[in-house]
């Protein structure tokens, strides 16, 4: 071993530096460590944003992989129809526009005032946290504890902001806990993430009947922070039988696909009134048989209709 003594000194110093940083950062949220992070992010964020733009088409390809086969088939059929109607529009631009459309629909239906932002990075699962960086920050009016949503539903909340970026704690993160309401009722529950792609719902009233496909929206925190009311969260996929317990347990599949986050909106102003269930899309037909859409008549106007756009990014 070449001068292992010096190596050991260097190692010890570096380890000491790491531990010092950890202690500094763990003790206060506004110390030298926080300053360091903020500075580094303001330098790095433009690079990430630029790279995000470059890899967009690659990402579009990967987003389609790994889905459930039947769902994928349905999606492809629908997508085929869409594509036939809009051959000339570039796929990427169209998807972006559709996501923006959906976001606008949600924001409009709920009377949320939102600031749009792009997800530019997501942390590694090895850190046990489900968090993302978005490219809007303090100068765009973002503050900690604001609701983040997209055209599909609730994404998460803002944890901290720098000048130009913000850290979003995703709904599926193990520290996420959202007050939720079942559609069409006043039955409340608490949704918690556990890092996986499903959420656990604990309904506080054991008498409540929950069924699969019941839809869940945010109940709203006091003052609309961190969560504004009425944002769609997901649908119940499984109800646990918990006889004799004080709460009812259910599993909820979130509407948002956390592996395909792109455009999000941060709610900078809560609605004056609770939008109740109005943000949820119209209830789908009981059996979602993929009825072949009537072949697009030779349309006189080539404008794409702003149909509700759900999960058909391809």
């Amino acid at each position: 071993m070449r001068d292992s003594r010096r190596t050991r000194v260097v190692l010890a110093l570096l380890l000491l530096a790491s531990v010092t940083l950890i202690m500094l950062d763990a003790r206060s949220s506004s110390g030298p460590a926080a300053w360091l992070r903020s500075t580094a992010q303001s330098i790095w964020a433009p690079v990430q944003t630029a790279f995000s733009g470059v890899v967009g088409p690659v990402v579009e390809f990967f987003d389609g992989l790994g889905d459930d086969e039947q769902a994928r088939l349905d999606e492809l059929e629908r997508e085929n129809a869409e594509l036939r109607a809009q051959l000339r529009t570039s796929e990427l631009a169209r998807n972006r526009a559709a996501e923006l459309d959906a976001l606008l629909r949600v924001a409009g239906a709920g009377q949320y005032r939102t600031v749009p932002a792009q997800v530019i990075a997501v942390g590694p699962a090895q850190g046990f946290a489900s968090t993302a960086t978005i490219d809007a920050g303090e100068i765009d009016g973002l503050r900690p504890e604001m609701t983040v949503l997209n055209g599909d539903g609730l994404v998460g909340r803002v944890k901290s902001v720098t000048q130009t970026t913000a850290l979003v704690v995703l709904l599926k993160d193990a520290t996420s806990s959202v007050g939720a309401r079942l559609e069409g009722s006043m039955d409340l529950g608490i949704l918690t993430g556990d890092g996986t792609d499903t959420l656990a719902l604990r309904v506080l009233d054991p008498q409540v009947t929950i069924a699969a496909d019941d839809r869940v929206v945010t109940f709203g925190s006091s003052g609309g922070s961190p969560y504004v009311p009425g944002v769609p969260i997901g649908a119940v996929s499984r109800v646990e039988s918990t006889p004799g317990q004080l709460v009812r347990l259910a599993t909820v599949d979130p509407y948002v696909d956390f592996n395909a986050l792109d455009l999000v909106g941060v709610v900078v102003e809560a609605p004056r009134e609770d939008p109740r269930d109005s943000v949820l899309p119209p209830k789908p037909a009981p059996s979602p048989a993929p009825a072949p859409e009537p072949a697009p008549a030779p349309a006189a106007t080539p404008t794409p209709s702003p149909v509700a756009f759900r999960g058909s990014r391809g």
Binding site: S18, L21, I22, R37, Q41, G123, P124, Q126, F128
Partner: protein
């Protein structure tokens, strides 16, 4: 660390970090995220030895702490990557002898990094760290890193060796151009 080393390290580590932050999380992979930053850093460390390995590990871990959207305290990855770089550097002689050692090394370090992160997190009472979370992340993290190793580590090792002429006395010191 010479200027050549620093430049090569920056040229390899920064794109790896970018790739990891921007692209790899989007792949529909269950469990964990492939960790090219760790692999590139280890590839450099097994050529340049434990001291530079520890330093590079510290710096790349710090970069991960600062710019990746994790929620842990600054310094947590720096601590772990620093140890990982040191370990990789120590294994340099063994790596020369057999290629299989690299795979074993990567598997060991990847597993060690996840466990160490969980331990530090547990020590700081991070609410996200649990036995279930560790168990669901650990095998995937190791598997992805081992699968990625043949594509990342040998090229990095080759580059690291090229930039470092074995016979130093024949090399023209940087900055003295003629």
């Amino acid at each position: 660390m010479s200027l050549r080393h620093a430049l090569l390290a920056a040229a390899l580590l920064l794109p790896a970090l970018l790739l990891q932050n921007v692209l790899l999380w989007r792949l529909p992979l269950p469990g964990a995220t492939p960790d090219p930053l760790l692999l590139v850093m280890m590839g450099l460390a097994v050529v340049w030895g434990p001291r530079e390995g520890a330093l590079l590990g510290f710096l790349s871990g710090l970069a991960l702490d600062l710019v990746s959207p994790g929620d842990g305290p600054v310094g947590q990855w720096a601590l772990i990557f620093c140890l990982a770089g040191w370990v990789a550097g120590l294994a340099a002689d063994a790596v020369e002898r057999s290629a299989l050692v690299v795979l074993l090394l990567v598997a060991g370090v990847a597993a060690g990094a996840v466990v160490a992160y969980a331990l530090v997190g547990g020590f700081l009472s991070d609410p996200r760290v649990s036995w279930e979370a560790l168990r669901s992340v650990l095998p995937w993290a190791v598997a992805y890193d081992v699968l990625l190793t043949p594509f990342v580590v040998p090229p990095v090792i080759a580059l690291a060796r090229r930039v470092d002429p074995r016979e130093r006395r024949y090399s023209v010191p940087l900055g003295v151009s003629r």
